[in-house]
Structures are given as C-alpha cells and as structure tokens.
C-alpha cells in the first residue's frame, strides 16, 4: 500500500462523525470600508497613507521623499514617474535585486488591518514587492472593503496564480521584541489612495 493510501485509510477509519460547516455569512457587512479606518490601520503597522485627487500628485510626493534615488520600477498605468522602468516581465527575478522603489497598482485595500491585496499580474514579477527597498501602491478609495470576509468575496471574482495581502513594511521583533522595520523585504510601505475615481 502506498503512503497515500495508508494515510487516507487511517484518516477515514479515525475521523469522527461528520460535523456541519457553520454559516459565516453573518460576518459579511457588505458596507464599504472607510478610508480613515484604512489609513489609521496602515499607520499603526508602520505604513503611510497619502490621500490624492490625481495620479500626478504621486510624482510630486515621491520627489519630496529624500530616499528616492536609484532604480525605480513603476507599473501603474497613467502614472508619470521620471526615469522609471515600466516593463520588467522579460527580466529574470534576480535582475530586480537593486530596485530601490517599486510602484504598483493594488487590487483593493482592507480597512480593518491596512492590508492591500495584490495579484501577480500587478507585480510584473512575483519577487518585486519583496525585493525592492521601498514599496508604494495605488488603490482607489471605492476599493476599500471593511474586513477580510468582504476581501475574500471580492478577490474570488478575479482568478490569480499568486496573490498576497501586504500590510505595511517588512518587519521583525525577534531580537528582544524590539520592533525593527525592514527585515528582508521593503523598508517602507506607502499607499496612495485615489479619492475621486
């Protein structure tokens, strides 16, 4: 007997009588999440939210951030950023190791925890939002859901090969519980929220 058969047999012999799944629809509120709650949650986990009326404001804000120099990858349609690369799909993942800033479109945000959902098609390469030194994403105000239940309802509408909830910059507290931002991934996380779209 193969291990597969052995395990499945042992499980079927030992599993108890069937217990029904609970109804979890009661957690879905259907209302849209508030932009204020999202911003507060994001700042509590070390991220920064900017509220903008127009994509062109991003260029101005980013120019004011002293850390922005070096290689920039910008994958947001209609966002003008000087000297940024817009096409990376032809590169090897390792070629992205010196990316300083990556600017992506996120699918939506979650108000209760400040996370954004990003699918692979927005990343250009799966490794990009992890390997860059600083990550910025753009979401529309109307694409903020209250909690994770609504988030799963929304993400089920669009298939993906890989997707990730990203909530703030990479962090660790493994040394004496002192919070350090910038463990292996980005040292900062900025979310630009487009108010009028």
């Amino acid at each position: 007997m193969s291990s597969r058969e052995k395990i499945l047999l042992a499980v079927s012999q030992n599993q108890p009588e069937r217990v029904l799944l609970p109804d979890i629809s009661l957690f879905e509120r259907k209302a849209t999440g508030t932009v204020q709650k999202f911003g507060a949650a994001l700042s509590s986990i070390g991220g920064k939210a900017y509220y903008i009326n127009d994509l062109t404001e991003i260029g101005i804000i980013i120019a004011g951030i002293p850390a922005i120099n070096g290689r920039v990858v910008n994958l947001v349609d209609g966002l003008p950023i000087k000297n940024a690369e817009n096409i990376i799909y032809h590169l090897a993942a390792h070629d992205l190791q010196n990316v300083e800033w990556a600017i992506l479109k996120a699918n939506f945000g979650v108000a209760e925890n400040g996370a954004v959902w990003i699918t692979e098609d927005c990343m250009g390469q799966r490794v990009l939002p992890f390997i860059c030194q600083h990550l910025a994403v753009v979401i529309n105000q109307k694409d903020i859901v209250p909690a994770m239940h609504e988030a799963y309802e929304l993400l089920s509408r669009k298939p993906y090969d890989y997707g990730c909830f990203i909530a703030g910059p990479s962090k660790t507290a493994d040394i004496e519980q002192s919070l350090v931002i910038g463990a292996h991934g980005p040292r900062s996380m900025t979310v630009f929220i487009l108010l009028n779209e």
Partner: protein
C-alpha cells in the same frame, strides 16, 4: 524522573530559574505580548463568534478530512503543483532529499516550518551533505547558536540581545559588543539577502491549504518565505494533513484570528497565496501524517489538531512564562505542545501534561477553542494508567490517597503538620521541600477546622 537523558520539565525549569533576572524578563515580555493580543482582540466585537466559527470549521475539516485531502490533491495537481504523501518524518525527509537530488541542489533556504523541526529535517539533510539555512531571523539566531526554537512564533525569545550580538560578531562579523537590535537585524538582512539570491531551492511551511481551490497560504512578517520561494527554481512546501480548510472564504475567519492571537497585530505583513508555480519553476507539496491520523482517532485528544500555531497559549501560560520553552524538551512547547507531544511519544513526554496549573488561561485565549487544560488533565490520567507517571508523583499520590481515605490518619497528619510548622519550621523550610522553592510556608493555625467545630458546636 529522567525521561530523555536531559531531564524532565521540572528539572529543566529549575535550571532556567537559576537566572532570576532572566526569568523575570521572560515572564514580563510574554505577558506584554499577551496584553497586546488583548488590546487588539477587544477591538473586534464579534471576536467570540469568530472563535466559534473557526472551531466549527476545523471540526468539520477533521470530520471529513479524507475527502478534503483528496479534493485538495486533485485541485493542486490541476494547478500544476506536484503532491507527495509522507506517512512519517523519515518519509518526509527522504522526499525532500530526493527532490533536491533530482534538482542537483546541495544548499537550500528555509522559512519557518515547525513541521520540519518535528521531522528533524535539517539534521537529516546535513547528514546527506545538504546545507539548510533558516531565513526567519529568530530561527537563524537559534540555528547559529545550535539550539532549538523555544517558542513556535518567537523562536529566540529566551535569548538576550547581548548573546545575539556575540553570535553575530562570531558568525556575521558585526562589531564586538554590538547589541542594538536595529544594527543586528540590518546585518542579518545583508547576510540572508545573499542567501536568497544564491539558493535554487526553497522550503516553506504552510499555514492554511484550501481544498476547494488547491492553493496554500504562508504567513510571515519578514517576507522571508516569499524572498526564498520567488527567487528559487524549486519551492517545496511541507504541511501537516490537518492544515486544510474547506473553502477559500474560510480564510477570512482564520486570518482575522491568527495574528491578533499571536502577536497582537491585525494581520501578518505578508499573507501569500500560492496557487500555481511561476513559469518554468516547480512547486511541490508534501502532505505529512506523522501521528496525526492516530491523534484523530483519540476522541479526547483529537481537538488538538485544530491548532493553527499562534502561540497564544504559551504567552499566557504562567508555567511557560516562568520555565522557558526549552524546559518542555519538545518541538512545540507550552500548553499546546504538552497535549501534542504525548501523542508522538507518550513515555518521553509523560512529564509535560503535569507541567501545568490547569488554570485554564490557555483554553480562554485559544482562537480555535481547543479545550487545552481539559486535555492536559485527561492526558495525566492516560499517562498514569499506562504506568508512565513520574515516580515522585505516583508515590505522593499513594500517600495522599491513603491519608485522605482514613479519618484517623487524616487527623493525625494534620496535627503533625501544624506541630512541625510551629516548633521545627526548618524541617520543611529547606531545599528538600519543592513547595518551599520561591515560596514561604504558611503560618500554622492553632487548631484544625474539625477541632474548632467540635469546641464551638455545643455553645
């Protein structure tokens, strides 16, 4: 009782307690995390309903695990993921070794996986000439120190920053006596980035796997699982068979509970959903039993398989906080480890269900409502019946039961106790009395309740 050549929980805890300052620090740090958990949890009005829903979903999974496993396998395969089955730790390690051999790889990077600790994977691969580097910062620290993790979420919570500074000075070339967490983390970032960029194989654990879609979810704060997996050609994901959830929308319940319970964050920084491999790359999943199907058949203990490894029961446990994770001499420490470990080896871990005050705090914070303290109590009975009870405990219990079943003996021993405490307190206030450690003996009353009642009843 010597159970394993390194001592039982009580003697290992006594070692840990020699450094009073460290014990205080350990205790306070974990309690601080427990308080962060409370603060975060209290912002969710439906918290108790979420716990109940999570518990019910997991009970459903356990009751229909056979079909969910097959459904997950079929969906994962159709997503282009290779699925392997391992009956025990040895088979799991052989599968990993074979996959690495086929790929011609002799160096692998690994993110946190308690399952691979359970299987002794690093040691096995080292014997076969394959180097494994742990990429979670806490795990890398204990790996450099040649120690095991002492906590499932905070692997080096037992270590002071000065000790970590010494390790990094020796292995990563940081300046001597440098103990600033910011500087040390930056050094580890540089060191591990080099590892991520040069390893062609990466192994990750699995937090949740979805039967309905064949995808699996890995949660980290550091981003180490993603750095490893996306830069490697071969991604191996090891998971216990109990990690399944029926439908993807159930993640909404579990991701709300997991990190709030673990560290008091609203969610981990990264919750990565792996559905299909990247073009030209491979993902392999290993489904591991290693005693889980046996635990499933133990009615009193099967609920322990609901565990999502948040560590909340450790952070709240008064015994764990003051005895340290290593005193449990098991892969998973604390209350949950004390009900999981006897399933793997009842004799070796016979002492663990006794390492508890049964205060029930673990059960109260468990996000999936495992009846941890009840199971600890039940394991004690199973262990005593099987003849594995610690010898001193058996002897004391026999004396107790004789004394309590005879009124004459009971009154005599009460009198004797009061007399000793009053006239020769040094006979009990010494190191031979385990109760006296860290405690004072009580003031003896003048008379027993029985004597007082007899005197006052007639008035």
């Amino acid at each position: 009782m010597e159970t394993n050549g390194i001592g039982d929980h009580a003697s290992l805890a006594a070692d840990f307690n020699k450094d009073k300052e460290r014990v205080e620090w350990h205790d306070e740090t974990l309690w601080w995390i427990r308080q962060k958990r409370d603060k975060n949890v209290h912002q969710i009005p439906e918290w108790e309903q979420l716990r109940e829903a999570a518990s019910q979903i997991k009970l459903n999974v356990l009751s229909d695990l056979n079909s969910y496993l097959q459904q997950f396998e079929a969906n994962a395969i159709s997503n282009g993921i290779k699925v392997h089955w391992a009956a025990d730790a040895a088979e799991h390690n052989q599968i990993v070794h074979q996959l690495l051999k086929n790929a011609g790889v002799s160096q692998m990077v690994k993110s946190k996986s308690m399952l691979t600790e359970e299987c002794g994977l690093n040691e096995y691969l080292a014997e076969h000439g394959i180097e494994v580097i742990d990429s979670d910062l806490g795990e890398r620290i204990v790996q450099l120190a040649k120690e095991a993790p002492s906590h499932i979420v905070l692997p080096c919570i037992h270590k002071k920053k000065e000790e970590i500074g010494d390790l990094f000075h020796e292995f990563l070339g940081t300046p001597e006596n440098m103990a600033d967490p910011q500087v040390l983390t930056e050094a580890a970032r540089g060191h591990l980035r080099e590892i991520f960029l040069t390893r062609r194989a990466a192994l990750t654990g699995v937090n949740f796997a979805i039967a309905e879609t064949g995808e699996f979810v890995v949660c980290t704060n550091e981003g180490n699982a993603d750095m490893g997996a996306h830069l490697a050609d071969l991604h191996i994901a090891s998971m216990g068979i109990e990690k399944l959830l029926p439908e993807r929308r159930h993640l909404g319940v579990f991701l709300r509970l997991l990190t709030r319970s673990a560290t008091g964050q609203p969610i981990t920084t990264y919750s990565s959903h792996f559905k299909k491999p990247q073009k030209g790359k491979q993902i392999h999943i290993i489904l591991v039993d290693n005693g889980r199907s046996v635990q499933l058949g133990r009615e009193d203990f099967r609920n322990s398989l609901k565990c999502i490894r948040c560590g909340a029961c450790m952070n709240t446990c008064p015994v764990y906080r003051r005895s340290g994770g290593h005193s449990y001499h098991a892969v998973v420490a604390g209350p949950i480890g004390s009900i999981l470990s006897p399933n793997l080896d009842m004799k070796k871990y016979a002492d663990l269900p006794f390492a508890s005050t049964l205060c029930g705090s673990c059960t109260n914070v468990c996000p999936v409502k495992i009846d941890i303290h009840d199971q600890l109590y039940k394991w004690r009975q199973v262990i005593v019946k099987a003849g594995y009870a610690p010898a001193t405990k058996t002897a004391t219990m026999q004396v107790m039961s004789k004394t309590l079943s005879s009124p004459a003996l009971y009154h005599l021993s009460g009198k004797a106790g009061r007399w000793v405490l009053k006239y020769i307190p040094f006979a009990v206030n010494n190191k031979f009395n385990p109760w006296y450690k860290q405690r004072d003996m009580p003031e003896p009353p003048e008379e027993s309740f029985g004597e007082w009642y007899k005197k006052n009843q007639t008035k």
